[in-house]
């Protein structure tokens, strides 16, 4: 008689499991835009500060509205939105309930610093050394921006640069309502 081994069972279970997942998947909505993690708890972010090198954790800022912006010095579209980012930070300068971080993605330490030197800087940046933070956030490319509410839930995702209307909407329709506690569901926006 045939002697069944571990890999036999594994292969069979694996095949059946895969088929079950496929079957289930058929009833999902195929046109659902995938990179949505809005309305879910933000992944924990821990990484070294770009300048001080000390570890920064987003969870330390729980209770505030946090804007997280993924950028890189080699990213052209990031340059387009950089002024807007500086303006947002400036806009909420006196609001203790607002915090803002840049996540420097796949970049060189000195190139990132040069970039901020040239384009100006008024907020803190965390380095995503091994790309883990970007993977956790499901980032496809830079720039992408997330807004996290006081409870640590991601309430907004912006794909592409914050320029023009996107900028004013970001302040008036996303951050202000969250700070005032009048926010509804915001969702994902792609500016490109």
């Amino acid at each position: 008689m045939a002697a069944f081994k571990g890999w036999h069972v594994l292969l069979l279970v694996g095949t059946l499991g895969l088929l079950a997942i496929f079957y289930q998947g058929l009833w999902g909505n195929p046109n659902f835009i995938p990179p949505v993690i809005v309305e879910t708890p933000a992944p924990e972010v821990t990484g070294p500060d770009l300048y001080k090198g000390t570890a920064v954790s987003l969870s330390d800022f729980r209770g505030k509205v946090i804007l997280v912006n993924f950028w890189a010095s080699w990213c052209q579209e990031c340059k387009l939105e950089h002024k807007s980012l500086l303006a947002i930070k400036k806009h909420y300068e006196d609001d203790p309930n607002f915090a803002m971080f840049g996540i420097n993605y796949q970049d060189k330490d000195h190139l990132a610093k040069d970039y901020l030197q040239v384009h100006g800087n008024n907020f803190d940046h965390i380095r995503d050394l091994d790309g883990r933070i970007s993977i956790d956030f499901g980032v496809y490319g830079v720039p992408e921006t997330f807004v996290i509410d006081q409870e640590g839930i991601i309430r907004h995702k912006q794909i592409g640069p914050i320029i023009g209307d996107v900028y004013s909407d970001m302040i008036e329709k996303v951050i202000d309502p969250l700070l005032n506690g009048t926010a509804g569901i915001v969702g994902t926006v792609s500016s490109s």
Partner: protein, 680 residues
Amino acid sequence: MIVEIGHYAVVTALLLSMLGVAAPIIGLKRKNAAWVQVGQRALILTFVLITVGMVAMIYSYLTEDYSVKYVYATSNSKLPIFYKIAGLWGGHEGSLLLWAWILAFYSMAAATLHWKTQPVVMPYLILMESIVLCGFLLLILFLSNPFERIFPAPLDGKDLNPLLQDPAMVVHPPLLYLGYVGLSIPFSFAMAALFSGRLGEEWVKVTQRWTLFAWICLTAGILMGGYWAYYELGWGGYWGWDPVENAAFMPWLVATAFLHSVMVQETRKMFKVWNLFLIILAFSLSLIGTFLVRSGILSSVHSFAADPGRGVFILGFVAFMLLLSFGTLILRSAKLKSSVTIESVVSREAIFLFNNLFFLVALVTVFIGTLYPLLMEVLQFNKVSVGPPYYNAVFMPVALGLIFLMGIGPYIPWRKTTAKNIKELFGLPLMLAFGAGVLLFIFGIREEYALASMTVVAFVAAAIFIDFRKIALFWGKRDRVNPFLGFLSAYRRNPRRIAGLITHVGVLVMIVGITFSSLYQTEKILIMKPGDEVSLKSFQLRMATLHGAEGVNWEGKEALFDIYQEDRIVTQMRPQKRFYTVSQTPTTETAIYQTNMGHLFVTIPEVSPDGTWARVRVLHNPLVLLVWYGGGIMGIGGFLNIFRRDRKRSVVSVASGVTAKTAPSLASGRDGIVAQRSES
């Protein structure tokens, strides 16, 4: 009328493919070869009939018969003839028909070519191929019928998707299918081996060329798709880890692993079950890929109309094939055990084992990445896509490991080796690689990945070059000719090995292209008006004019750029923003200027409504052409391997009177130095 003939031909083909399933089973039950012959004839006729169906469809395209719904959906009277024909695979229904036609072609070819030499395998081969054909024909006729009519007949068609109106896109789907479907032949041979219990090395040898041909087509298909994405989608990259790209890449990874591991079975009679598993997996992944693409289960730039009905059918079919093949493997393999074990970790078979493990890890990486959103959704988590960061982090180290093995595998001896031997074999290549790394560093290459991959590439290149040089000199000396002819003479003696190494050279060239074009790409995006200038690398681009342009079935804007290098005009470039009037779709047409092996790449993704300014994207992709040149070299290696002329000893597998006579005469010939290894 013609379409109806085609339709009925395909209906008849379905019935015949059912006969193709039944006849070999009856033949096996009754031990009657006549029934097997019936099955073979049914397969051949099936091919003829599906061809009639294809011709009928193409006829409707050429005669602009828009009462055929599918023709209406994918063609237009203004289309050039070339794209009218290609419209056939421009949508779901026609693609499936093409799939079935290619499958019928392969089946017919295999059942005819091997009819005399593989009588034992034949019934199972016909059976398996007919099952797959039957499944696809059912799908075509009942759920995706391209022959369907609409009434009243529209005056003109909706036009072929403009993105598909492109030469690369005309050949990309057929090539890809030739690859996907071609894997069905070695798969059927493997299943035949399992069913018939003849699990020796024979099926592996017979299917070698089939697998190679499928592999070349798959490689070419993937590269062609990448090339299309590169200039047609206008984002400047050729690979985006999109689910549909992955669907083609996964069978490729497994087929590549299979092509390597069969060599171990041939030489050392090991990995028997493993090879069966690999080829079943490779073809299963082809089917799963078809399912993923055709069911619209994953969202992707390629997605076609989603239809759960079709999805359920294809899934049912995939489930049937998977359970049948893996089930048989499980039941049969219990009897099999490898008679030889690996003696040492530093032996060629061990390197092959690592090669296979790496390929499988690569597969799992891509597989998880592709299915991740689906998994999350099914398990009630929120849907999250896995983007390029994941692949860059996980896939790249595996790829580097695989390339590194290319420098070791072909040179390390079978069974085991000594430390001294290793030093002799790899000392010089390692030193050269290290030197190359240092040189690159001095010349300003600072990216870790670029340094690592170029050092590894240098190692493998050195190993290959040293080997080629050695054999060229050796045979040149023996035959008293120059080293070049010596190399040819070495090639004639062991074409398989050298053709394989040529393929490796192609891989290296491609890796150089991938590394530089991705890590050293430079980009500028800006708003430009006529008269504005921008510089990138050594180029100055001046927008001369921004004007209207039109073609047969589109209108749009074109920017004219004068390109200067050191104040000298070198070329003019004309990127366009097109609007296809019939299908109401905009496209971005890329302008490309070739510099050395790289590209200057200009697009205008956006033009202001009043036509005064355009958003301009300028890219410099250094060495990007090497990606496709490398692919070309890989293909040359592959074809040399298919069309190689084996020496007698490997063709005749059973020691017969003939071999007994020829073997000594060969041995006493001028190439007697090559040991006559017994093959039985």
